[in-house]
């Protein structure tokens, strides 16, 4: 016969009992209100403990800490010559691929650089392509942001990547509240990597009745902008 002592109930809540014992405990719990209450309390404390320490999971890890690990060169044990697998996480090669795209995008933003020696058609094609992909990426990012605001819990990251254009973004809802009219508004953090440049912005978006989240304001975080 099993007694519902503290250690049994705690092991029950922690999922440490085998199926047979679980059944015994549960049948006894049906008739023991004190024990049931205690189990509920234990569950609540366990859940609160988890949530209480969640902040650390969601905040950015200091770069210095990552660097402790990343500065160690990779030795691939399977390949005698480690040069073969020089896949450092921050692949410097990204620059080489991103640069032409960055140039094209810069063109687009700065207006047409008439003095350039490229043939006209090549330039035009590059611009068209850049403009097209930029538009595509922007609408894909809008969808990803909407998705993040609609379904993610605060702190949960939604990422979006386009490997072809080397653009990526992550969206993290930070805080949720209701405005005066009762509409849900969420603050969010957006980290955008474009043409090798990382950019962090914070925004506030509110939800309309159609489920669209419209950004009401954006703040740029200059302190954190870093190039890759």
């Amino acid at each position: 016969m099993i007694t519902l002592d503290e250690s049994t109930l705690i092991a029950y809540v922690d999922g440490e009992l085998d199926a047979g014992t679980v059944r015994l405990v549960e049948s006894k719990l049906n008739t023991d209100q004190n024990a049931t209450q205690y189990v509920e309390q234990l569950r609540e404390i366990a859940a609160l403990s988890r949530i209480a320490f969640n902040d650390t999971l969601h905040e950015a890890v200091p770069q210095a800490l990552k660097d402790v690990i990343l500065r160690h060169s990779i030795q691939d044990s399977t390949a005698p010559n480690s040069n073969v697998v020089s896949l450092a996480p921050r692949a410097k090669n990204d620059w080489k691929i991103a640069l032409p795209m960055a140039a094209a995008v810069a063109f687009l933003f700065l207006g047409l650089g008439g003095g350039y020696q490229y043939s006209k058609s090549t330039t035009e094609n590059a611009l068209k392509l850049a403009s097209l992909t930029l538009k595509q990426d922007q609408s894909a990012m809008t969808i990803a942001l909407n998705q993040a605001l609609e379904v993610n819990m605060s702190g949960d990251v939604q990422t979006w990547t386009n490997p072809d254009t080397h653009r990526s973004a992550s969206f993290t809802p930070v805080r949720t509240y209701q405005d005066k009219t009762g509409a849900f508004c969420r603050e969010y953090k957006k980290e955008l990597v474009m043409a090798g440049q990382a950019e962090t912005t914070f925004g506030l978006a509110c939800r309309n009745d159609q489920g669209q989240w419209n950004t009401r304001y954006i703040i740029q975080d200059n302190s954190n902008s870093q190039s890759f």
């Binding site: 990343l70 993610n152 605060s154 949720t176």
Partner: protein, 184 residues
Amino acid sequence: MDLRTQQEMVAILPRLRRFALGLTRNEASADDLVQAACEKAINRIDQWEPGSRLDSWMFRIIQTTNIDQLRSQQRQDAHLGVVKHQTEQSFDGERAVEASLTLDSVRRAIHTLPDEQRAVVMLVSVEGLSYKEASNVLEIPMGTLTSRLVRARTALARILKEQDGDLTIANTNNVSPLGKGVRS
């Protein structure tokens, strides 16, 4: 260290920091502790058995490093004739929202537990390790683990009951409007 291990180590950094924060109760010391543990881990990566859990192995390094640091600190403190105890309540929270108040009181309650009980709570309740995994990390027998766990939980229940009978989370801060169906 191979690339995959390196990447995994970076990926578990948030959890390592969380465990370290639970042990040290202070963010700066937590990051120092994680940094020291990572350096140790990298230096003796050949002692880690590929395929086994990297997180458990690193939790153990954090735990032993912390104990070493505490011991040397205690020696220093003993020299002064004072043994420092429980520098608790380092979270200067905004006391605005009920939820954060409650979570704050949970954190504070955990902070007041003795070191060895706090480590057990962090591993089992917060990190979700099994008793067996946790007892391996802490290098203590299962019986010791469970009795610490019982003492810790009983103490937490008592502390939180004393503070406030009501532990409900009452704001939308951590709730997605649709995910949890709280739309009014």
